[in-house]
Assembly symmetry: C2
Homo-oligomer: 160 residues x 2
Amino acid sequence: MENVAPRERILNAATLLFHQNGYNSTGINAVIDYARVAKASFYAHYKTKNDLAIAFLERRHKIWFEGLIKDVDKEKALKNKVIAAFLYIKKMNEKENYRGCAFLNMLTEIPRSNKKMYSLIKNHKSDLLQFFQKIVNNKEQAFMIYMLFEACLTESQVYQ
Amino acid sequence: MENVAPRERILNAATLLFHQNGYNSTGINAVIDYARVAKASFYAHYKTKNDLAIAFLERRHKIWFEGLIKDVDKEKALKNKVIAAFLYIKKMNEKENYRGCAFLNMLTEIPRSNKKMYSLIKNHKSDLLQFFQKIVNNKEQAFMIYMLFEACLTESQVYQ
DNA sequence: AAAAATATAGACAGACTTGTCTGTATGTTT
DNA sequence: AAACATACAGACAAGTCTGTCTATATTTTT
């Protein structure tokens, strides 16, 4: 459980704290305390807090999509695939305290000028739309599902 | 243009800065500088930054809904009313730099423990759903429109 | 075993934050 | 004209933030 390299402990802590309490509300000190890592060790692995945020988004994108694909691929029928996708949101929200979408949350906290992060967020959403286009294979319908999916994500944050 | 009482200048500044740059990224100093108001004057009108945020949400709720109702009431046919609602988002986003929903943005920046703000946000969204239920007068259809409306709001932030 | 890499704790700088306070000026009401 | 409310500028306290640095300890590699 604790036999994990510092670099990964840091990323795990950031993943939990950024998503749970928000990016700006989470200081580096909170991250290193949670990760049980010295401050110098942190800055040896990540040059800045911004770099950590980028690593967080990149890993989150990977893991989140892997989980989605795994759940959706279990189903054969198209209808059940779509249902599985929505159940995946439900599952994740229950696990993560109804904090909605980590990417959308980050988007509201960073300045527009942060090109790198902005493109990670946008690409994440484009990939999600493409994902639905692939399984539904009707552009308009896929877009509709995508929009409802996004709404579910944000509304779960409002209504818990 | 500038012949406005300090209390209102402060709220105007907060409205612009909170929505444009985010709540946590906007310091009191930025607000009073923009409002051209002394710090002591600010704290004479608003006890804390949190109180200012509450005033901001309350006024935003009022003004935003008034604008929505005004645009929707212009139309007679149900279909056109719905379209007018979506055009209202478009108009507002163009005016406000594609920063999406001020309430959802605030939600991601505050801690769960902030009951007062949380209830303002939740009530804003309940009122919006009720608004659609009133004009569409079919619960399921109204919910669908509400969800798509919400998705439009957030997606405009992603894709500008 | 010696050398190099990686970890630790925590002090520190400098810039921010919110909120308080002092002292002064302007404007309104009596 | 006197009294009061409201405005101003800005110093200050107390705490936060990110990021740097020193000095020591523990691993890992050679």
